[in-house]
C-alpha cells in the first residue's frame, strides 16, 4: 500500500476473520445495489424529462409543444 515500504498484506487488520469481512462485503454490495438503482433511476428521469418546461414556456416564439409533451410525468 505504501510503495516499496509497506505491503498490502501487512497493512490489513490482524484480527479480521473471513466470515466478518464476507458479511460486510455482501452487506456493502446489497446496500450499494439499492442506492444505485434508485440513484441512477432518478438521474435517468431527470435526464429524460429534460430542462424545466415553465421557464421555457415563458419564452415567446419558441415552439415548445414537443418539450411539454416530453416533459410530462
Amino acid at each position: 500500500v505504501v510503495y516499496g515500504l509497506l505491503r498490502t498484506k501487512d497493512a490489513v487488520t490482524p484480527s479480521l476473520v473471513t466470515a466478518d469481512v464476507m458479511f460486510s462485503l455482501l452487506a456493502y454490495i446489497a446496500v450499494y445495489a439499492v442506492i444505485y438503482s434508485f440513484g441512477l433511476y432518478y438521474i435517468y428521469r431527470v435526464l429524460r424529462d429534460g430542462p424545466a418546461v415553465e421557464v421555457s414556456a415563458a419564452l415567446p416564439g419558441v415552439a415548445r409543444a414537443g418539450a411539454i409533451r416530453g416533459g410530462g410525468q
Partner: protein, 395 residues
C-alpha cells in the same frame, strides 16, 4: 487463492471505491460546468443558459448525494479493514483526509446550499460566486485525495519513527513532483467525463427532436470542451507514464506486458498476457516503439519484469488491459470531439444523425472508463485506477 480476510478486504475496498469514484468524478466536472454556464448567462443574458443550468443543477444535486453516500463507508474501512495501515501512516493520511473535509468539502457543501436554494435570495454576482466556490471546493477536495494517493504511490517527505510514518516535510507531500502531474490528470479526466456526458445528453435531445435549443447548447459546449481538453489530458497522461517509469519500473513493465528486458524494446499493442507462463499470447507488437514511448529514442534499453524477483512482480493482465482501455477511450473521445468540431465548422453538426448517435453512445463507455483511467482513489478502482493501483497493491 483462498478467501482470506486480505483478499476479501481488497475486493471490498475495490468494490466500494469503484462505485464511489464515478460520482465524484462526474460532480467535479459538473460543478465546473455549472459555473461556466452561469458565467455565460451573466455575460450574455441568454435565457437558454438558465434552462441548461437549472437542468444540470438537478443532475448535480443527485450525483452529489450519491457521491457522499457511496463515499462514507470508504473511510470506515481504514479503521475496520486496514488498521495497520492507519496506525502506521495515520500521521500523514489522517491530516490529508482531514484537510479534504475542512477545506474542500466544507467549501463545497456550504455554497452548494446557496446554489440549490439561493437563486431568488442572493444577488446574481453572489450566485455566480457560489457556483465558483462549489467548483473550487470540488477541486480542492480532489487535490487532497490525490496528495494522499500520490504519497502512497511514491512516499516522500516523511521519516520513520518506531515503524510509524511521521511527516517531515509537508511541502514535499503536498507539492511533490508526483501530485503535480497526477492531480491535473485527474481533474481533466473529470472534465472530460462531464463534457462527454453533456454532449451525449445534447445529442440525445436532438435525436429525440425535443429541447433542441438546449440540446444544441449542450452538444456544442460539451464537444468543444472535450476537443480542447483531450490533447492537454494526453500530455499529462504521458507525464504520468514517465513518473511510473521512473518510480515504479515494475508497474511500468507490467502495463507494457514486457516480460524480458529488451534493447531496443518493442511496444505490445494488443496481447493476452499469460502470467503463469510469463509471456504474451497473440501479441501484436511494433518494433522499437516501446523504447521511443518510454525514453524518447528508438534504441533505448527498457527493463522487463525479469529484472525483478518473482515476489516483487505485479499482476500483468489487469494493468495491461485497463491501461489500454483508458488510452482507447481517450482516442475515442479525441475522434468524436474533433470530428464534431469539424462538422460544426461545416454547419452540419446538428443534422448529421449518425454522428449524433455516435456521440450519444460514446458517452457511457468513453466517459466512464476514461475518467476512471485518470482517477486515482486509493485502492484500485476502474481502469486507470486499476492500472495505477493494481501493481503495488495486489501482490
Amino acid at each position: 487463492m483462498d478467501l482470506d480476510p486480505l483478499l476479501l478486504s481488497r475486493i471490498q475496498f475495490a468494490f466500494v471505491i469503484a462505485f464511489h469514484i464515478i460520482f465524484p468524478a462526474f460532480t467535479i466536472g459538473l460543478a465546473a460546468w455549472l459555473a461556466t454556464i452561469e458565467g455565460m448567462r451573466l455575460a450574455t443574458g441568454d435565457p437558454v443558459y438558465r434552462r441548461v443550468f437549472d437542468f444540470w443543477l438537478k443532475v448535480f444535486a443527485l450525483s452529489f448525494g450519491m457521491g457522499v453516500v457511496t463515499g462514507i463507508v470508504m473511510a470506515f474501512q481504514f479503521g475496520t479493514n486496514w488498521s495497520v495501515l492507519s496506525e502506521r501512516t495515520g500521521s500523514i493520511q489522517g491530516p490529508l483526509l482531514g484537510y479534504e473535509a475542512f477545506t474542500g468539502f466544507l467549501l463545497e457543501a456550504t455554497f452548494f446550499g446557496v446554489m440549490l436554494l439561493g437563486r431568488e435570495r442572493v444577488p446574481p454576482w453572489f450566485y455566480f460566486l457560489s457556483c465558483c466556490m462549489v467548483s473550487l471546493g470540488t477541486m480542492v477536495s480532489s487535490f487532497w485525495i490525490l496528495c494522499n494517493n500520490s504519497w502512497m504511490q511514491v512516499p516522500l517527505g516523511h521519516v520513520v519513527v518506531d515503524g510509524k510514518f511521521v511527516p517531515d516535510d509537508w511541502w514535499a507531500i503536498t507539492t511533490g513532483p508526483i501530485v503535480r502531474v497526477r492531480w491535473p490528470h485527474m481533474l481533466f479526466a473529470c472534465f472530460l467525463t462531464t463534457g462527454m456526458s453533456v454532449a451525449a445528453t445534447g445529442a440525445w435531445f436532438l435525436l429525440r427532436r425535443t429541447y433542441s435549443e438546449e440540446g444544441r447548447v449542450m452538444l456544442r459546449w460539451g464537444l468543444g470542451l472535450v476537443a480542447v481538453i483531450i490533447p492537454v489530458q494526453m500530455f499529462f497522461g504521458h507525464l504520468n507514464g514517465l513518473y511510473v517509469l521512473k518510480h515504479q519500473p515494475a508497474k511500468f513493465a507490467a502495463i507494457e506486458a514486457r516480460w524480458q528486458t529488451q534493447q531496443p524494446a518493442s511496444e505490445v499493442l494488443i496481447a493476452i498476457p499469460d502470467e503463469s507462463a510469463q509471456r504474451n499470447l497473440f501479441a501484436l507488437e511494433v518494433p522499437r516503439l516501446g523504447s521511443f514511448i518510454a525514453s524518447g529514442t528508438w534504441d533505448a534499453r527498457e527493463i522487463g519484469l525479469d529484472a525483478f524477483p518473482p515476489e516483487d512482480r505485479p499482476p500483468v493482465f489487469v494493468p495491461f488491459w485497463t491501461f489500454r482501455l483508458m488510452v482507447g477511450m481517450g482516442l475515442v473521445m479525441l475522434a468524436v470531439s474533433w470530428f464534431g468540431t469539424w462538422l460544426r465548422f461545416r454547419g452540419r453538426l446538428e443534422t448529421t444523425r449518425w454522428y449524433l448517435w455516435a456521440t450519444f453512445v460514446s458517452f457511457p463507455p468513453a466517459s466512464s472508463p476514461c475518467w476512471r483511467a485518470g482517477s486515482p482513489p486509493r485502492s484500485a478502482a476502474s481502469p486507470g485506477w486499476f492500472t495505477a493501483c493494481c501493481a503495488p497493491r495486489m501482490r
